[in-house]
Amino acid sequence: MRTPGLFGAMLPAIRDSNTLHQALDLGYRQLLVERGSLLAMVGPLAAAARQGVAIFVNLDAVEGLAADSAALAFVATDLGFSGVLSVKPHILKDASRFRLRTIQRIHALDSTGLETGLNSIGQPAPYAIAIAPAVAIPQVMPIIRDSTNVPVWGTGFVTSAAQAAAVLAAGADVVASAELELWREFRDARIDD
C-alpha cells in the first residue's frame, strides 16, 4: 500500500485526540503527532490513516512507543502512518525498511550543533529534514543548503502566521505548528499536490 504524502505547507502538530479532531475538522489531510501518548489516541489515528490522512510521528517525543523495529513495524503496518521523525539516523535507516518516509530531525541551536546535525544525515537520504526551532530557518537556510538539498520542514516555536510565512519564504517546504488559530489561517491557502 502506498501511503499518502504531503498535501500542503502547514502541518498541524497534535498531541491528543482533541487536537487531532480539530485538525481533521478543519479539513487537514496531514498531521504530525508531536508528543503525548500515541497509544491513547491510537484508534482515531488509525481511522484517519485508513481514510488517507498522511500521519507523521515524532519518535523522539511521543510517549508509549520504543524507538525500535517493533514500534516501526506497528506504526507502518498496523497503523498505516506515512512517516517518522527522529534525531537518530539509525532509527530512520530502520524505518526506511518499513517503507516509512523518514524525516531527520536536526536541532538548530548554534553553528556547532547544526553542523553536527547536518553531518549526521545518513544513507539512504531522508525524505526531508526537520529543523527545530523552525524560527531559526530564515537564518540558517544558507548553511543547510551548503550541505544538503533535501526538503526542509520547520518545527518548534511557530505560533504566528508571520513566523510561519517567514519560515516558508526562507525555503522550507513544510511548517508545523500546534496553534489552532494558525491552522485556520492556513486552511484556505492550502495547496493540494
Binding site: 536541532h107 548554534d110 553553528s111 556547532t112 527545530a132 526551532p133 524560527v135 531559526a136 500546534a178
Partner: protein, 205 residues
Amino acid sequence: MATRAMTPPARAQAVDRSVARLFEAFDHVPVAAVIRHAEDLPRALASQVPAIFFVRAPAFHLGPLVWAVQARGKMAFVHIDLIAGLGKDRAGIAFLAREIGVNGIITSHSGLVAAARAERVIAVQRLLLYDDLGLRSAMAAVEHARPDIVEVQPAVIFPLVAEQIRARHPVPIIVGGFVTEPHQRQAALERGARAVSTSTVSLWP
C-alpha cells in the same frame, strides 16, 4: 543535589566573586568568543572579550589554550558536553577544574552543573530551546540545578522566552547560537541578556 544553601560559604563566595568580576567586564564588552576552530584563538586573545568558550578542542590538549586565555586576563570556559575525550561526569569536571584550572564549565545537564558548582568553578547551564517542550524541561532543569549563569540558545528564541525565564530565575543570562550580525547582538542585549556568545570573529570587539 547541590543547592546554594548546602554549599560551603567559602565556595559560594569565591565563585560569586568571579561571577561578579565576569559581569563587570561584560558590562564594558558584552561578548564571549566561542572558539570553534583553533586558528581563531589568536584573534580572540587579541580582542577585548572578557571570556572565551571552548566548544570543541580535545580535552587533553586544552591546558595550554586555557592558560593562554588566563594569561591575557580573560576567563576560559569549556563546554563539557561537546569536548572530545572527556567523560561527561564528575571526574571529567574535576579534571577540568583541578588539572587545567578552567574558570567555568558549560553544560546543558543539571547533574554536571551541580558537579561544577561542587568543584568551585562557574557553572553555565545551556538551555537548548528547540521547541516549547524543550523550554519547559529547560526551566525545570535550571530550577533544579541552580547554575551561576544561564545561556539561552538559539538567540532568535530569546525575545520569545526572555520574560518567562526572567520571571522564574533571577540568574544572569547569556545568549548564543547564530549570532552573526551586530543587530542580533544588539537585540539580545536590549532584551536583557548580559552578554552574547558568538563564534563570528567580526563580532569580537
